[in-house]
Symmetry: C2
Subunit: 169 residues, 2 copies
């Protein structure tokens, strides 16, 4: 099957958000076992002027649902970024995956040249669908997923790269 805009985006998002969910389950269990207030992990950062774990999860969700909607030419559900517990972050991931599952290959395929307009730091930025996916969404999506992983790893959670990639090292 030739590589398509759908294959390079939606199943990747679903898979990686599922891996993130499993990592957050391990983080919640770790907090409970070690008597760590979960908010310590959820608010943890790698540098004082970097964003905390909750933001990394919310932004990975935004990248995935925003991309799916823009490539499909439909509206994405809006989530208010108020999650402050592990169950709430899991619900955010579940809602994101549920939305992604409604988006079909028929809607996304052929979106290489689709006009995408978004606001970045208050400035309107225009992309075509293919560079939007390859040079904006995927680097940002993986950046926030990896930062979430790194925050938890730095805070002692016993996970490995296979947790991140989903079982293939």
């Amino acid at each position: 099957m030739p590589l398509s805009m759908y294959q390079a985006s939606i199943p990747v998002f679903i898979r990686m958000m599922g891996n993130l969910s499993a990592i957050l389950d391990k983080a919640a269990a770790y907090a409970e076992a070690k008597k760590i207030d979960p908010s310590v992990l959820i608010n943890a950062r790698l540098a004082p002027d970097m964003r905390p774990l909750s933001f990394q999860v919310q932004t990975a969700s935004d990248m995935a649902k925003g991309c799916a909607a823009r490539l499909a030419g439909i509206d994405a559900p809006s989530f208010p970024d108020t999650e402050s517990t592990f169950p709430q972050l899991q619900e955010r991931i579940a809602k994101t995956i549920a939305f992604l599952r409604t988006v079909t290959a028929e809607q996304v395929d052929g979106s290489e040249e689709r006009d995408v307009v978004l606001k970045l730091r208050g400035q309107e930025t225009r992309f075509k669908g293919q560079p939007y996916l390859l040079t904006f969404v995927l680097p940002n999506f993986y950046f926030h997923l990896t930062t979430a992983y790194a925050i938890l790893r730095h805070n002692g959670l016993d996970i490995g790269k296979a947790d991140f990639t989903g079982g293939r090292g």
Copy 2:
């Protein structure tokens, strides 16, 4: 232009390795300005059982050149992972990009079903070209790039996400 195996891999690798090179230039300048021994940054880790900055750069390079070679059906250059200074890491990146530039769309396109065999933790693992790129290479490539960024950010380097993505926030 329809999304192709080439477009989803080689130009992405070249672009992101270039961004990494610019980040390492800033790290070297930061070390000099702050009188930090560069090896402190090059050996820095986010957790005692995570790998240091040098490994992150080497592995990002390996992911990119290995993927390019396997999808194109050619041999990748072998680099011995001995880099221990910023100039050596920059040379590694430059050699990686130089190799990637020799790989053509004609060689890589149509590799969706190509058999890829690699050793992961001593075990032979088989992929088809498309899942190899989407579920193995890209998650790993971005994982190591982001971890390199996070190590430097955690150690005080003044960079932002635009340095990572190459100017689009």
